[in-house]
Amino acid sequence: MARKITIEPVTRVEGHGKVTIQLDDSNNVAQSRLHIVEFRGFERFVQGRPYWEAPVLVQRLCGICPVSHHLAAAKAVDVIVGAGTGDGLTPTGEKMRRLMHYGQMFQSHTLHFFHLASPDLLFGIDADPAIRNVIGVVLEHKDLAVQAVLMRKFGQEVIRATAGKKIHGTGAIPGGINKNLSPEERDEFLKGADPMNADKMISWAQAAVALFKDFHSKHKDMLDNFAVFPSSHLSLVRKDGAMDLYHGVLRAVDTNGKKILNDVDYQDYYNHIGEEVKNWSYMKFPYLKSIGKKDGWYTVGPLARLNTCDFIPTPLAQKEFEIFRAYTNGKPNNMSMHMHWARLIENLHAAEMIKQLLLDKDLQGKNLVTKGAKQREGVGLIEAPRGTLFHHYKINEQDQIVMANLIVSTTNNNEPMNRAVSHVAKSVFTGKAEVTEGMMNAVEVAIRAYDPCLSCATHALGQMPLEVSLYDSKGALVDSRRK
């Protein structure tokens, strides 16, 4: 009897996702899909609101990465107020925003590794869920847990010092920033009592990369062969090809490393990127128009960023980047589990950037805002922790937003996440008559590598159980589990 297996929602990713795997009569995987219940009403909701409210309004989207939305919207509004893109801001304005962004990147990547990835890597994806979790990591690897907690706290404090507060930060304003960094705040991050200072954060970030490499050396078979499939990759890069998570030009490479989007101005993104709607998912499927809907999909996020950039402009991360690129002989790396490796190298880069920025006297500058001739339209792009984030607004003569288009990182990764699910489903479900916890978690591990963000802004008590439901070929419920 053909069966339909439903995993809903995916554990340890935010919000609500559902995986369905359709087996045929011989228990071969006939079809697998990741369905994401994404909230799309926000773009309509901001219509009619004054454009200058956008950087604060968009933080309602997400309680995990509000800083990314805050900055992407601010960059779009910069264009509208005539402040140009990225480097059009004053040095203090741009560098304060960069510090905020790298603080966000540092705390987010740290959380992902410790909370979402390390339980799977340290205990194995077949391990008992009772120990394969964050508390299990604490019990077995207390030093790592203490480091992760304090790294998160450090990143959060950087955000608070630059954004002004933890909820609905207001640091980035049209054309710049509303505060500089005081010498006292700077010294707290640079010279804070051990371990809460930038040097220790760099040291711990280095140790995390080493931990992954050690694990990799012992588990190459799993990490190198789990959910591997050819993909194109897209991200911002600096004009000279360096990794730049805050600003740059848009670059995409194919699975062999050939440039298929050659460092274009993202103000024209809509000439290069289309969004396809499929009737089985609320989430759109972006693609490169030059390649077409069928094959124009691409991956974003840490793995993509390390595949598109030519170098990383901080010394310790650059050293790790060279090792990373050498592993695939300079070709793009398409191993999904290496997303964790890439994420930790980026985390080291973020820690180095935080120190580099803290040492820059421009952070104590007084010239915070740039203004120019007003425009009716603006696009803001940023490399959020999970990947490229697009914000696009148009306004009318009354300064009201009349059009908003957002392409979030998880939307950009829609097709590759589905490919990863399909790849893993075929390898672990094919020919199996029973469904085990380990088999289900294997699918989830593939999704979690992308760290998707699934409408996570509400979290009130009582939401988000895990349900597993089995359906027969006629759609009747055969079995259901909840945890």
């Binding site: 309004l57 964050v134 933890k166 802004a457 009130a460 008590l461």
Partner: protein, 162 residues
């Protein structure tokens, strides 16, 4: 640090999900000696550090089901995390704090019933009523908890870490 930490969490940009931060705002205006307040979008691993420095902690969250106008009770650490997301439950943050720092704080959960969760600023009228009821309830309880830990008479000034 010591004293009582009252920690509200939720997204005020999603209507009643902001009940926790709203109650924190009301408490901050009271300036209760010995009370530290904090709020964020959601609980996370670094909150284990703050908890470890308090004698007692009161978590304040919105609830989408359960007691009206609110529910209040003691909270025990829970290591049983079979389902976790980027947001942690108060019981698991408590467990993390205990495991890492070994300093058990008395913990309570105040769950205020909410009803609307759209991306709009401001509470629904029904939730706002529940918030008032929860505040009238928790204000004297905080005094009792402070007295119970012997901090009420010696700690001065309220603190906000938001």
């Amino acid at each position: 640090m010591g004293g009582v930490l009252v920690y509200g969490y939720g997204n005020p940009g999603r209507q009643d999900d902001g009940l926790g931060p709203a109650l924190i705002g009301m408490l901050e205006r009271e300036r209760i000696p010995g009370v530290v307040t904090d709020c964020n979008y959601q609980l996370q691993i670094e909150d284990a550090v703050a908890i470890s420095g308090s004698d007692a902690v009161i978590f304040v969250d919105a609830s989408c089901a359960g007691g009206e106008p609110f529910a209040f009770g003691g909270l025990e650490p829970s290591n049983d995390i079979t389902f976790t997301t980027h947001a942690m439950s108060p019981a698991s943050v408590l467990a993390l704090s205990h495991e890492l720092y070994g300093r058990p704080a008395r913990a309570y959960l105040l769950a205020i019933r909410g009803y609307e969760w759209e991306p709009v600023e401001g509470l629904s009228p029904a939730a706002a009523g529940n918030l008032d009821a929860a505040f009238r309830f928790i204000r004297p309880r905080i005094g009792e908890i402070l007295a119970g830990i012997g901090q009420g008479a010696v700690l001065e000034g309220s603190t906000s870490r938001n």
